[in-house]
Amino acid sequence: MAGQSCLVANDWICWEYVTSRSRELTDATVEHVWITGISVLIGLIVAVPLALLARRGRRWAAPVLGLTTLLYTIPSLAMFSLLLPLFGLSASLVVTGLVLYSLTILVRNVLAGLEAVPEDVREAARGMGYGPRRLLWQVEMPLALPSVLAGIRIATVSTIALTTIGSIVGKGGLGNLIAPAVSSSFKAQVLTASVLCVLLALAADLLLLGVERLLTPWTRATRAPRRAGRVAGRAADRAADPARAGAAVASGASGASGASGKGA
């Protein structure tokens, strides 16, 4: 550490910056995480009814999918600015914008997951006396889970990246550190905040991948057909007793996992 410190020299990599501003960095990261988390959560809550609406037939599917795709076309800076008169300079503005973006991916994946549920599984459940609501939550949703989770993963990763734009209204998590550092050419701050942002996206991706594996163990067992019945049985227990017909669940699950690939 002889000579001048890396803060004075304005180096790209500066450990002194990280230690001396750790409070600021932590606060920004925490803000980043909660803005992303809330946005994806609300996005999911909105996306499920929209997907159910779109499933009712072409009359609903075209406007729902068209509108959510249209929203995705609007550049993020414009989106946040268009919401300004409604929300003012607040975190709810950023969250609303991010929710609207997440809908594109989430609605599509929820819909793809639901549509991949084989008709004979539905028939079997109806034959066993399942009403429409129980059919949805206990049979169709568990089978759509792989596609839904894949959607959540994509939406979360892109939302983490988009949150930085929220710095235009001062609520951009790590973006708040990047914006002022550009005008003052503070290299260490720009690099550290950027790297943290990418690491955050990476961590979220891995975490959600783990959740995906934990919640849908049957998707990995499709290559071993002999064990499929047993695994599906376990999955059935976990997913609150979706359908007691083990074989039907297994075939449904493989169909849904196929759809998740396309949904992504």
């Binding site: 609007i74 800076l77 600015s81 892109s158 990246a161 973006g175 990047i178 914006a179 720009v190 991706d205």
Partner: protein, 224 residues
């Protein structure tokens, strides 16, 4: 809503359209930067993606590159360029960032488009004695067109959107109208600028969809 009428007044005022900070100049910058970047990205990504798809190699690369692209914030990359020596090079930081973010959709769709061509058609063409080059030009390329065009379209929309963010680090483009409005607490201007940017993105998307429909369509597999 007085913001709406304020935005309308702002747009109706001819003074806001002229000069270096006017709409016309910013629009020209936006279109120029986006066009150059898209052309460079297409020139780089399409040959590579199509060729890899023809060979059937590098599939994991094509998929992973788009996943990585999604995780990296555009704003961070632009910010990094603006604190690097690239800063003094005019529009270059924006163009480089735009190219980087246009590459993933182009590469992935070109590759996937080539791979999704029906294998039996490719086998039949081989059986008829077509060479690799003939197969590529006469069979695979026409059949892959729909997906390749989808890639170009999403890259174009991505580029337009990213060029807006360039304003946040002091580069040109329509986004500057928005950021200037923020700096002067002029909500009407912010709203007007946002309307212009959103409109540009939608018009570009619409124009590309129309162009794709108008182009002569060979007997291709049904669109998805």
């Amino acid at each position: 809503m007085d913001v709406l009428s304020g935005a309308w007044d702002w747009l109706a005022d001819g003074a806001n359209w002229a000069g270096e900070n006017g709409v016309w100049h910013r629009l020209a910058e936006h279109v120029y930067v986006s066009g150059v970047a898209l052309a460079i990205a297409c020139a780089l990504a399409l040959p590579v993606g199509l060729w890899l798809g023809h060979l059937g190699k590098g599939g994991a690369l094509a998929v992973n590159i788009s996943n990585v692209g999604r995780a990296i914030p555009v704003f961070a990359v632009l910010a990094l360029f603006m604190v690097s020596p690239l800063r003094g090079w005019g529009n270059v930081p924006t163009i480089v960032a735009l190219v980087l973010f246009a590459l993933p959709p182009l590469l992935t769709n070109a590759y996937v488009g080539m791979r999704e061509v029906d294998r039996s058609v490719v086998e039949a063409a081989r059986g008829m004695g077509m060479s690799g080059g003939q197969l590529f030009l006469r069979v695979e390329l026409p059949l892959a067109r729909a997906l390749v065009m989808t890639g170009v379209r999403s890259a174009a929309v991505q580029v337009i959107a990213t060029a807006t963010i360039a304003a946040m680090v002091g580069q040109g483009g329509l986004g500057r109208i928005i950021t200037a409005g923020f700096n002067t607490y002029n909500t009407a201007q912010v709203f007007a600028g946002a309307l212009l940017v959103a409109l540009l993105a939608l018009v570009v998307e619409g124009a590309l969809v129309a162009a794709d429909r108008l182009l002569p369509r060979r007997p291709a597999p049904a669109d998805r």
